[in-house]
Symmetry: C2
Subunit: 250 residues, 2 copies
DNA sequence: AATATTGTTCTTTAATACTGAACATCTATA
DNA sequence: TATAGATGTTCAGTATTAAAGAACAATATT
């Protein structure tokens, strides 16, 4: 009997929360019910519970629901516990100023890149909020930097999995990807040559934990004309140097 | 029959998530069970479900649990939907640079201040992460700025509620607090005179939504010697001017 | 005005979450 | 080193209750 010691109603409820996305921040009851193949009334009850707890808010005008601010408080605790953001922030600033490019910081989570922070150089004061955004491993600088140093078994799972094409430059061929990862292991840094977004190049360096496993990565990225080979090598060195004191101590 | 159309097991489970705090980011099964007066096995099942969903992670060394990064993704959606952070950030930067003080941005949530962002002036590069932190309304600049313009009924609830003393300067007397709030309504800005933290003064200005209700507040704060009366009046003006374009349009 | 389509309410039943005890691990203390 | 007291986990039975499905109310659309 493969009994699962899990609270099924809770798992179902969390799926409801996960229906909300940046693209669809507001959802109706039937919309969610269809999406999950569940009954309207069930969704209604779950949402009403979440609302009472503050995790979801109903828009009085449209009757649709959206995520509540209670989640922000939880995320604060996560961030604080991880502590990573606080530890990395000064170094990210240093890198952004030295390279005059946007500096990203992401961690490995569920076989995806989870962006934790973006720091803009003072010469480029954008304010795009990417906290919490996710991206695939195989076609981003941060992702490949981590993929290259992951346990081979886990890495192969991804390499042999679906490699969706985002641009003409995306490495959708496992063999090509493998040799790229090999080069990353040799040089110590990953290059994303417009593989995820056309016109955007990126250099990323992995960060290793105390026991030697990849835990995170830091990158700078920007418009491809500014990212020629020699510049990217220089940037990689800048990042690697800035991260030196953090390597193998987290 | 006052039947509650809520999923009780879900409400219970969310209470488990809420046990985690900055002070106690890691909790054991029995610890949570005691805190909530629930059975160990129940907590165990809930945690195991949350773990499968990625909302909670078990520390292999200590067997204790902590919140997972999945929450970050949800918080990203919240932030993005609120959009507030993105809208306010440039103005917060402006205020921080103009006053050379830390600039805070908070919203009203569950009768508390929920801190959304802190921006440090370039002359004071701290990196304290306060995203998601909460504080009482009656003894903080941001809080009083919002409390003063809340619906009277809701405000009185708080004024007549427990007014815990944080410092010798905390206004724990409802009458004193009321007259302070009256002054805030007159001047349009709130002053926190070391009421929450000794040695820290703060000036805050409320932000109003499209329908005229208080939705948020912005403040600058710092060591009391730097915050004399004339300086604070000047800071209040600076903030009010910077926020002008955002008033009554959100 | 008529007709979908939405969110909500309600009851019944089948599912399942919680209890409570037993078990397995680990960690202080004698 | 042995023992007692923690801890987290497993398990089966019962009492709870979550979900289904239909009916209702309130909008939106035609």
């Amino acid at each position: 009997m493969d009994q699962e010691y899990s609270v099924k109603s809770l798992a179902r409820a969390m799926k409801v929360l996960e229906c909300f996305s940046v693209q669809q921040p507001e959802l109706g009851v039937t919309e969610i019910a269809k999406k999950l193949g569940m009954q309207k009334s069930t969704i209604c009850n779950i949402l009403s519970t979440f609302q009472k707890c503050g995790y979801v808010v109903q828009n009085m005008q449209t009757n649709k629901y959206h995520l509540g601010t209670k989640i922000l408080h939880l995320s604060y605790i996560v961030n604080h516990h991880l502590g990573l953001r606080d530890i990395f922030l000064p170094h990210l600033h240093k890198i952004a100023e030295a390279t005059h490019e946007v500096c990203y910081f992401g961690i490995l989570h569920n076989n995806e890149v989870l962006y934790i922070e973006a720091v803009y150089p003072s010469t480029n004061q954008q304010t795009r909020n990417i906290l919490g955004e996710r991206a695939p491993l195989y076609c981003t600088g941060l992702g490949k930097a981590m993929l290259a140093f992951m346990p081979q078994e886990k890495a192969e799972e991804i390499i042999n999995g679906e490699l969706k094409s985002f641009t003409n430059f995306t490495l959708c061929d496992p063999a090509l990807l493998r040799s790229d990862l090999e080069e990353i292991r040799m040089t110590g840094y990953a290059v994303d040559n417009m593989e995820h977004e056309f016109g955007v190049r990126c250099v990323a360096v992995p960060v290793f934990g105390a026991s030697g496993e990849v835990t995170a990565a830091v990158s700078v990225s920007g418009p491809s004309p500014r990212f020629d080979h020699t510049t990217m090598v220089k940037h990689a060195e800048t990042i690697a140097n800035a991260l030196q004191p953090l390597q193998r101590c987290l």
